[in-house]
Symmetry: C2
Subunit: 310 residues, 2 copies
């Protein structure tokens, strides 16, 4: 048996951690959004790959919800004093990852292999794959023009009104080695869409040619966990963007967004009322706000049980 999970940032990484507590490393593959990747300080930064690595390795900073534990900020402070841009927080320890990644990429090592080496070095043996080794850049169309993802997300704090999102380079990108193999594995028992932002974190993955179709064609059930709880996003701009795109602020909007390949949908207990609504797929309600490790393992368990039922 094997499972695949598609994941973006913090929310996805929490559920991913739950899964690793239930499944052996060789039965699990994560396919991770790299649309957020960008060059900064001359380095290749992969925020979602790093969030997953830090979460699974125990290196993450639980207090801030991002970055590394025991972090210091001396490089960024000095860099700012030299006239460099400091709007993107890069801690001294975090920087080591970007330096090592950039160095290996510069040596010609592809991103999926760089990712494997970095994770292996911090003791993470589960398979973590970037959606692609190629450059795909999420671009946010705003009233004031198009913004690079991190400029929208971090620099502008998601304040601009979004009218559209595109994934620059996606048309010609190829899935990273291992991605299609994982989705076509005869032993595949389920594909989980983690509660990441559907528009900013999951859509870039689905935009890599062949990937969405692989989910449509997939023999195993595909289920998603709603990132929308009680009409609001647990974290990040999901519902802000939904409102700006004129979409109903409900978990069902997310299910419909994935309708072409989705076989099941997990909503939060507080949205139990939605179960009564006629949706074209089975739904379950569960405690989906993950505060403790136990919350994460419980939600992962709910997903695995749901796979079995479907």
């Amino acid at each position: 048996m094997s499972y695949v999970a598609l994941t973006g940032g913090v929310g996805g990484a929490k559920l991913a951690l739950g899964l690793t507590h239930l499944l052996p490393a060789d039965e699990l593959t994560f396919i991770v959004n790299t649309g957020d990747d960008f060059r900064h300080l001359g380095l290749h930064v992969s925020p979602d790959l790093d969030t997953l690595m830090y979460t699974l390795s125990g290196l993450s900073n639980e207090e801030t919800g991002w970055g590394r534990r025991g972090e210091s900020w001396n490089c960024l402070e000095s860099y700012g004093a030299l006239g460099g841009e400091t709007w993107f927080n890069l801690g001294d320890r975090d920087l080591a990852v970007h330096l090592r990644r950039s160095e290996l990429l510069q040596q010609g090592v592809p991103l999926h292999e760089v990712t494997r080496r970095l994770n292996s070095a911090v003791g993470v043996d589960v398979r973590i794959l970037p959606m692609t080794d190629d450059a795909v850049a999420t671009r946010v169309l705003c009233e004031t023009g198009e913004l690079a993802f991190q400029h929208y997300f971090v620099r502008k704090r998601c304040e601009p009104v979004v009218s559209g999102i595109r994934f620059d380079g996606a048309e010609t990108a190829q899935c990273a080695p291992g991605v299609m193999e994982a989705l076509h594995d005869p032993a595949l028992a389920g594909v989980l869409i983690c509660p990441s932002n559907p528009y900013l974190s999951v859509d870039p993955i689905l935009a890599v040619p062949g990937l969405r179709q692989a989910l449509v064609d997939c023999a195993a059930p595909v289920i998603a966990v709603s990132p929308v709880v009680g009409g609001e996003a647990i974290k990040g701009p999901t519902t802000k963007i939904m409102a700006e795109l004129g979409l109903p602020l409900t978990a069902l909007t997310v299910a419909e967004h994935y309708a072409d390949f989705l076989d099941g949908f997990i909503i939060d207990l507080c949205d139990e009322g939605l179960l009564a609504q006629s949706l074209s797929m089975p739904m379950v309600a569960a405690q989906s706000v993950m505060r403790t490790l136990d919350d994460k393992v419980q939600l992962a368990q709910t997903a695995l049980a749901f796979f079995e039922r479907l």
Copy 2:
């Protein structure tokens, strides 16, 4: 009136600091060795340019004699944990300089302009020029083969026996903008060769086509301060290399090394006996071991007075 000083690492930077206490910024140009420059962690590191910048800005670590004050090492520690090489000490604050320099170089800003911007940002307004904007790499020929400079100097702690030194790329390098202008300035009152390693730090500068000849042709006097005191180098492998190259371990060997362009030579008080020896140029003896700021200013004063005499 204007002065030019050629300098390498720590010893040269000390005398440079002395000079800045005696001369206005616009009367002084430093031409700095970049043969030590190398790529490390994917970044462009310029050790001698940085040593001078840290020394003149007051950012240098007086205790260690290298690197920055108030330094931390979290990035390098984390980088090592990711399988990266840690033999070259890169502190978190120091790293900011390499990041900023590499980023600007990547954007196409030439090294001399990068150097100006970095120094300006930390309040150093005196003109600091790399000897060249081009890549020149000092290579040390050892019994066991050829070593890149930092591999010889830091990684191997200068232990291999040296049979020769070459400057890869020097033949086709061009002096950085400003270098020839400074040496041909009609107001030039003197050129000072700082007490840096003649073979590893000054020779690379002299190897840039046209530079040595400019010193030979120079109307103003050229003087050098001996880095050899009492038959020993104050710091670094100068006399070790002299011994390995079969050269006499005395300050006079250094004067002879520069004989084609040198008009005066400053030796240490403890070598006063050498004044009696017939050298083809004027010599003065001074306290040349610079421990305090006052030592640095005094030695700079000795050099300036010597220029006036010549």
